[in-house]
């Protein structure tokens, strides 16, 4: 049994059930990516795992204990969360924002000790922000800003990292930048990473484990080779996908895709033209 698993959860949002009786286990020291169409409950699942949302029934278990029963500060030493699109208060410098990642390790008024400073400095270095650390965060580009939030999560010094769409609004190079950093953290420091991604090809290329969701339930889970099949993608997204193998990871990726049902017509048109 892994350290982190979800047992029989029901989660609703303003009265409407989003997730109904879902079970999942998150493998330790692996990269797990949740995929699915808009509104399928993937962010809800992620937030529930991160204890931001409460369950109506069932529970998320960390080290064998229900996460809502554990002291939230203790949980914060085990898992760090990067929510989707976070606004930054103007005037905060990179150093200041990253330093807040030390909050769960501090007491009282929270003066930074040497241990804290080391961790902050390390987080700023690995995210490649050392040169910028005294700049205000609002003055940064989207990619840099996302790195700052990741740095803050790293300063928290947890073995589990949870990220909600960390590559959204970034261009291709910056998306890779972020994912390569996460891959490195996973490889060299054995951190467990759980994230939501919209880009199936990047999800397949960078994950050990994928969870495909639709309408609040899990359609498929397992290694990319098992989840990235045309039948699963058809079921989850309602699209016909043409799959191939990614030359950089040997995992399956989409070559091209089309809304289900129009494939035949389109192929004929293409051949005639």
């Amino acid at each position: 049994m892994s350290n982190l698993f979800v047992k029989d959860i029901v989660v609703s949002y303003s009265g409407l059930p989003i997730i109904d009786r879902l079970n999942i286990s998150i493998p330790d020291h692996k990269i797990t990516t949740i995929i699915g169409p808009n509104g399928c409950g993937k962010s809800t699942l992620l937030k529930t795992i991160a204890r931001i949302l409460k369950t109506d029934r069932g529970a998320v278990f960390l080290d064998g204990k229900a996460i809502q029963q554990l002291s939230t500060k203790k949980v914060a030493k085990r898992m760090a969360i990067l929510p989707q699109s976070s606004e930054v208060p103007p005037g905060l410098t990179i150093f200041e924002l990253v330093s807040y990642g030390r909050f769960p390790h501090q007491r009282g008024l929270g003066t930074l000790k040497l241990e804290d400073l080391k961790q902050i400095d390390w987080a700023i270095q690995v995210t490649g922000l050392s040169e910028l650390k005294d700049r205000p965060v609002v003055a940064l580009s989207g990619g840099q800003r996302q790195r700052v939030w990741i740095a803050m999560a790293l300063a928290q010094d947890t073995d589990i990292l949870i990220l909600d769409e960390p590559t959204t609004y970034l261009d291709l190079a910056h998306q890779l930048d972020i994912l390569l950093l996460l891959e490195k953290l996973n490889k060299e420091e054995e951190r467990t990473i759980i994230m939501v991604l919209h880009d199936l090809n990047l999800a397949s290329r960078f994950s050990h484990n994928m969870i495909a969701m639709k309408e609040g339930s899990i359609v498929a889970e397992g290694p990319p080779s098992k989840v990235m099949t045309s039948s699963t993608i058809q079921k989850v997204f309602d699209i016909d996908a043409n799959l191939t193998i990614c030359p950089f990871s040997t995992n399956p990726i989409l070559h091209s895709y089309q809304l289900s049902g129009c494939t035949q017509d389109l192929l004929e048109n293409a051949n005639e033209g």
């Binding site: 931001i52 208060p89 005037g91 905060l92 040497l114 400073l117 400095d121 390390w122 270095q125």
Partner: protein, 349 residues
């Protein structure tokens, strides 16, 4: 180089902790000096000018037989100290509100707390004349809670949630209603004279016994605000981030709300429904000392005290021997400042 290697390589002497505690310390020390100077100035000038030497001797060797000493001790000193106190209360409550709600337009005046307190004061005067000051403060606190409850209640009804500008609109509507009701009560029960002073805002009636009653509450509220100051910084990053960092957000927000209501309630019970102090001062303070509420809270307390002491001084000097309401003077600064912030769309905090 791998991440792990990098991690062990970081030399401790490379690490320089950068923050803005130096500027903040200058503000605290300089602000306190400024505050003492402003208090001295304010005490010596007035309907009867008294030289600063007499002010000093009135404090160190008080002589009951001198009229000037009596004026200073019984009228001017409590009034000026009252001004400093309410300024600090409004400013700290504004700082906390802006931090915890991430709303740059949060202010006890704009969000209906002051009008709520004033409404409760009207009820006290009309139905329980001669009520002890202790109870008046308590009702003022309840009134602040009533105003805030109505504004946040109405604000959360609207689709799109508690947007800064929406909340201010709800605040304006609720304040208008509560003030109209208070005035209705005032006219019907013929207490307009007593109340007029509370709406306009003024510290001229402040007495030592009032200060003695409110001071311990204010001290407790300030200590509480300092105790939670780090948490305010964390919560100002957003609810989800705060939970992720292990903060018990519901509990913290509850305590902070109580502190805000106590401060606003007390301030209104002393000076009346003076707005904008809690709007202007936190912005200026954040601009100067950065985003760390461990510094914002004490600095805004001092700057808020200074602003209201100076406003009270100006109120007495503008058109002597008549007094201009402090509320009007501060609004002269506050309204343009509010328009400037609202034009920015109420973004960012």
């Amino acid at each position: 180089m791998s991440i792990l290697e990098k991690r062990t390589q970081i030399a401790t002497e490379d690490i320089v902790y950068r923050s803005r505690p130096i500027i903040a310390s200058i503000i605290i020390i300089g602000g306190l000096i400024g505050l003492v100077a402003a208090i001295g100035l304010s005490v010596s000038f007035g309907a009867a000018d008294i030289d600063i030497g007499t002010v000093w001797s009135a404090i160190v060797q008080y002589n009951d037989e001198l009229t000037s000493h009596q004026i200073i001790k019984e009228i001017r000193l409590p009034r000026v100290l009252g001004a400093a106190l309410v300024g600090a209360c409004f400013a700290v409550s504004g700082s906390i509100m802006q931090g915890m709600t991430r709303n740059p337009l949060a202010d006890s005046g704009l969000l209906g707390l002051n009008a709520g307190s004033a409404f409760m004061l009207a009820i006290c005067f009309a139905f329980f004349p001669g009520m002890p000051y202790m109870y008046i403060i308590f009702f003022s606190f309840l009134g602040a809670a009533l105003g805030a409850g109505l504004v946040f209640g109405i604000g959360s009804l609207s689709r799109g949630g508690l947007k800064p500008v929406r909340l201010v609109l709800a605040g304006a509507a609720v304040s208008a209603l509560l003030i109209a009701l208070s005035e209705g009560i005032a006219i019907y029960y013929r207490i307009s004279q007593d109340l007029a002073f509370w709406y306009a805002g003024g510290v001229s009636g402040t007495k030592w016994e009032n200060l003695e009653i409110v001071a311990p509450w204010v001290v407790v509220a300030f200590v509480g605000a300092m105790f939670f100051s780090k948490s305010i910084t964390i919560i100002s990053l957003g609810e989800e981030i705060a939970i992720g960092l292990g903060q018990r957000t519901k509990k913290i927000k509850f305590f902070l709300a109580i502190i805000v209501l106590v401060l606003a309630g007390i301030a209104v019970s002393v000076v009346g429904a003076v707005g904008f102090v809690g709007l202007i001062i936190p912005h200026i303070t954040r601009f100067l000392v950065g985003h760390d509420y461990r510094w914002i809270i004490p600095c805004s307390a001092i700057l808020g005290g200074l602003l209201v002491v100076l406003a009270d001084f100006a109120a007495r000097m503008a058109n002597p021997p008549l007094e201009t309401p402090i509320g009007a003077l501060i609004a002269l600064l506050g309204v343009p400042f509010f328009l400037y912030l609202a034009r920015k769309g109420g973004e960012g905090i």
